[in-house]
C-alpha cells in the first residue's frame, strides 16, 4: 500500500465492527487452525530455550529448575570448552563454505549452458534427468554412494582396479570423505537449483539479445554482457540466503552420509545436538548449542541482507 493510499483511507477508518465481523468471520475461522499450529509447534518450544540457562531436571517444570552457574551461562562456557563441539562448529562452517564455493556457481553455469541449447526436446530431457537426484532421500543417496565408492566393491573402485590403479577410500578417509560429501551435495541439488536461474533468464527481454546481435556480439559476449547481468539480482539473493545459512546445518544429509571413521570431519552441529542431546540426554548443553546456532544464524542473515542492499540489490526482504 502506498503512502498516498494510506492518507486517503485514513479518515474513513471508522469500522462498524458488527458488520465487519459478520462479513469477515469466515476468514478468521479459516486461519484458526494454521495459527494454532504455529503457536503450538513453533512458539511454545521457545519457552524451552530457557533450559539453556538452567540446570535441566526431568521432574521439575521449567520455572522451578535452578539457574545454571556463572549467571546462567555455564552451559555456553561448557560448550565452548568442549572439543567435540568446537570440532562440530568448525566442520559446519567449513562444509558449508565448501558447499558455497563449489556448489553455488555450478547451477548458474548449468542454467547458462541449458539456455544455449537449441534442441528443445533434448533440453527438456536433460532437465528431467538433472532434477532427478533432488527427489532422492539422503538415505537412498547414501545407498547409492556405497555402491559407487566402497573400496573393491564400489563401481568407481572396480573400474580403477581394473585399470590397474589402487582403490580410493572415498568414504572412510576423512579428507576424501569431505570431497565425497561435497560432490554428493552438488550432485543432488545442482539441477534443482538451476530452475530459478532458468526462470530468471527466461525473463530477460529478447530485444536486448537482438540489439547485441546487431552490434555483432557473439554468443559468449551475449552471455557475459546480457544474461549474467540479467540474473544478477537472483544470484545475489540466493547468495545472501546461502551466506545467512553458513552456520545452519540440515540433519538428513550429514547424518545419513557420516560414519565412525570420518567423524573428525563429519560431525556437524545438528548431529552433535542429536547425539549429545536426544541420545546423550545433555539437554541444557545442547539447547545452549542450538540457541547459539539460531542466534548467530539470524545475525548472519541480517548481515548478508545488509550486504546485498549495499551491493544495490534487493536482498531477501
Amino acid at each position: 500500500m502506498s503512502a498516498q493510499e494510506k492518507k486517503t483511507k485514513a479518515p474513513k477508518q471508522k469500522v462498524n465492527w458488527k458488520v465487519y465481523i459478520k462479513r469477515y468471520w469466515q476468514l478468521y475461522a479459516l486461519l484458526l487452525l494454521p495459527m494454532v499450529y504455529l503457536l503450538i509447534f513453533k512458539y511454545i518450544p521457545m519457552k524451552y530455550i530457557l533450559i539453556a540457562f538452567k540446570k535441566y531436571s526431568i521432574v521439575k517444570p521449567i520455572n522451578e529448575m535452578p539457574w545454571a552457574a556463572n549467571h546462567g551461562m555455564q552451559y555456553f562456557i561448557q560448550a565452548f570448552s568442549n572439543n567435540d563441539f568446537k570440532n562440530a562448529l568448525r566442520n559446519t562452517v567449513v562444509l558449508n563454505l565448501l558447499d558455497l564455493v563449489i556448489g553455488f556457481p555450478i547451477p548458474i553455469i548449468f542454467a547458462l549452458i541449458l539456455n544455449e541449447l537449441p534442441f528443445k526436446r533434448f533440453k527438456k530431457t536433460v532437465q528431467t534427468i538433472a532434477y532427478m537426484p533432488h527427489f532422492l532421500s539422503w538415505v537412498i543417496i547414501y545407498g547409492l554412494a556405497i555402491q559407487l565408492f566402497t573400496p573393491t566393491n564400489g563401481l568407481i573402485n572396480m573400474f580403477i582396479e581394473r585399470m590397474g590403479g589402487e582403490a580410493i577410500h572415498f568414504l572412510d578417509d576423512p579428507v576424501k570423505w569431505v570431497g565425497t560429501y561435497i560432490f554428493l551435495g552438488v550432485w543432488q541439488s545442482f539441477g534443482w537449483n538451476s530452475i530459478v536461474y532458468l526462470a530468471a533468464i527466461a525473463g530477460i527481454s529478447p530485444e536486448l539479445y537482438e540489439a547485441a546481435s546487431v552490434d555483432g556480439a557473439n554468443r559468449f559476449e551475449k552471455m557475459w554482457h546480457i544474461t549474467l547481468p540479467g540474473i544478477r539480482g537472483t544470484i545475489v539473493t540466493l547468495l545472501v540466503m546461502a551466506l545467512g545459512n553458513i552456520l545452519g546445518s540440515g540433519f538428513d544429509r550429514p547424518f545419513a552420509l557420516q560414519n565412525n571413521l570420518v567423524m573428525r570431519y563429519a560431525e556437524v552441529i545438528s548431529t552433535f545436538v542429536y547425539k549429545h542431546g536426544i541420545k546423550g540426554l545433555q539437554f541444557s548443553l545442547t539447547t545452549a548449542v542450538g540457541l547459539f546456532q539460531s542466534v548467530v544464524g539470524v545475525f548472519f542473515l541480517l548481515f548478508a541482507n545488509w550486504l546485498a542492499r549495499k551491493l544495490g540489490e534487493r536482498g531477501i526482504w
Binding site: 465487519y20 469477515y24 469466515q26 476468514l27 478468521y28 479459516l30 486461519l31 494454521p34 495459527m35 504455529l38 503450538i40 509447534f41 513453533k42 511454545i44 518450544p45 521457545m46 524451552y48 530455550i49 533450559i51 541449458l114 544455449e116 541449447l117 537449441p118 533434448f122 527438456k124 536433460v126 534427468i129 538433472a130 532434477y131 532427478m132 527427489f135 532422492l136 532421500s137 539422503w138 538415505v139 537412498i140 547414501y142 545407498g143 547409492l144 554412494a145 556405497i146 559407487l148 566393491n153 573400474f159 530452475i195 530459478v196 526462470a199 540433519f251 538428513d252 547424518f255 545419513a256 545438528s270 545436538v273 542429536y274 536426544i278 539437554f283 539447547t287 542450538g290 546456532q293 539460531s294
Partner: protein, 310 residues
C-alpha cells in the same frame, strides 16, 4: 552492360552474405554440439549411479562377488526383488509410509490453503500481525531439543501422530501458494463478493479450481518430504513398527539390527546382500521417480513462485 554489372554485384553480395552466414552457423553449430555433449555428460553423471544400482539388483550373486557388474546386469534374475517382496517387515514399512504420505499430503495441503487464502484479503484486520507471526518462524527456530521436549510434553513421543502433525504446514510452501493466489485476478473474487458469495464459497468455487498447478506442485513437495524424511522418526519414534521406509533402509544399510530387520539368511552372504540392498534401495525410491517427471511443468512454476518475493 551497366545493369548486368549491377546484378552481378548484387549476386556477389548475396553470395558473400550466404557464405558468412554458413560460416557463422557452422561455428555456432560447433558450440551447440559442445554444449550438447556437456549436457550428455552431466546427464550421465546423474544417471550412472541409478543404472549401476538397477544392474546390481538384477544380477546373479556370482557375478557380484567377482565384481563384474558395472552398468549391465549379469546373470539376469529377479531373485532379489522377490525376496524383498516376500519380506513382511519391508512390505509393512512400504504400505505404512505410503499411507503416511497420503495422509500428510492431504492434511498439509488443507492447512496450507487455510493459511494462505485469508492472507490475500487486504481488508482483513490483523493481517499484518498474522504475517509477522508467520515470518518470525522462518527466521528463528527454537531448536532440536526444545522441539523434542515439546513432543514429550504433548505425549507425542512414540506416537505415530508425531510423523504427521508437527510437519503439517510448511511456511515456505504457504508463501508459494499465497503468491499463486495473488496472481488470480481480484476482479473474479470481487464480482463473487458482490453476488453475495461467502468467503468460504469463493475459496471452494474460484480459488481451488484455478489453483490446480500450485496444488499439484505442493502435493509433490509435501509427498516427497514425507516419503524421504527420516529424522523425525529417528528422534521421536522408538517403536520399530512405525518406522517409515527410509529409516528402515538406513538401518539396513548400516547393518543396525540386521537380524531383526532382514528375515532372509541372504544378508550373511556378501553377494546376495549386495543385490538385496540394491533392490531395497531401488524399490524405496521408485514411487517418486515414477511421479515427478509428469509434474515437471508445474513444479518449475512453483519453485519460481517461491523465489519471487512480494
Amino acid at each position: 552492360m551497366a545493369k548486368e554489372v549491377k546484378i552481378d554485384k548484387r549476386k556477389e553480395k548475396d553470395g558473400a552474405d550466404e557464405i558468412s552466414r554458413t560460416i557463422k552457423s557452422k561455428a555456432t553449430k560447433r558450440v551447440d554440439m559442445v554444449f550438447a555433449i556437456v549436457c550428455v555428460f552431466i546427464s550421465a553423471i546423474c544417471l550412472i549411479p541409478m543404472i549401476n544400482l538397477l544392474a546390481r539388483s538384477l544380477s546373479a550373486t556370482d557375478f557380484l562377488v567377482k565384481h563384474e557388474v558395472y552398468l549391465i546386469p549379469k546373470g539376469f534374475n529377479f531373485d532379489a526383488y522377490s525376496s524383498v517382496l516376500s519380506d513382511v517387515k519391508y512390505i509393512r514399512a512400504f504400505v505404512w509410509t505410503a499411507f503416511l504420505t497420503l495422509i500428510c499430503t492431504l492434511l498439509s495441503l488443507t492447512m496450507t490453503t487455510l493459511c494462505a487464502y485469508p492472507l490475500i484479503f487486504e481488508k482483513l484486520k490483523g493481517r499484518g500481525i498474522f504475517n509477522i507471526i508467520i515470518t518470525i518462524t522462518m527466521f528463528f527456530n527454537a531448536g532440536t531439543i526444545p522441539n523434542y521436549l515439546l513432543m514429550k510434553e504433548l505425549n507425542l513421543l512414540d506416537n505415530p501422530l508425531v510423523l504427521i502433525i508437527p510437519s503439517c504446514l510448511s511456511v515456505y510452501n504457504m508463501i508459494i501458494m499465497r503468491s499463486f493466489f495473488y496472481g488470480i485476478p481480484d476482479s473474479l473474487r470481487e464480482s463473487a463478493e458482490i453476488d453475495g458469495a461467502s468467503f468460504f464459497k469463493i475459496l471452494l468455487s474460484i480459488y481451488i479450481p484455478l489453483s490446480k498447478p500450485v496444488l499439484a506442485t505442493l502435493a509433490l513437495f509435501y509427498a516427497v518430504g514425507r516419503w524421504n524424511g527420516y529424522s523425525d522418526a529417528l528422534m521421536y519414534m522408538k517403536n520399530k513398527d512405525f518406522y517409515p521406509l527410509q529409516l528402515l533402509l538406513y538401518n539396513i544399510l548400516n547393518n543396525i539390527n540386521s537380524v531383526e530387520v532382514a528375515t532372509q539368511e541372504g544378508f550373511s552372504t556378501p553377494g546376495l546382500a549386495d543385490s538385496l540392498k540394491a533392490a531395497i534401495v531401488m524399490f524405496s525410491t521408485i514411487p517418486i521417480l515414477c511421479i515427478y517427471p509428469f509434474l515437471q511443468k508445474y513444479f518449475i512454476h512453483g519453485v519460481t513462485l517461491g523465489a519471487v518475493k512480494e
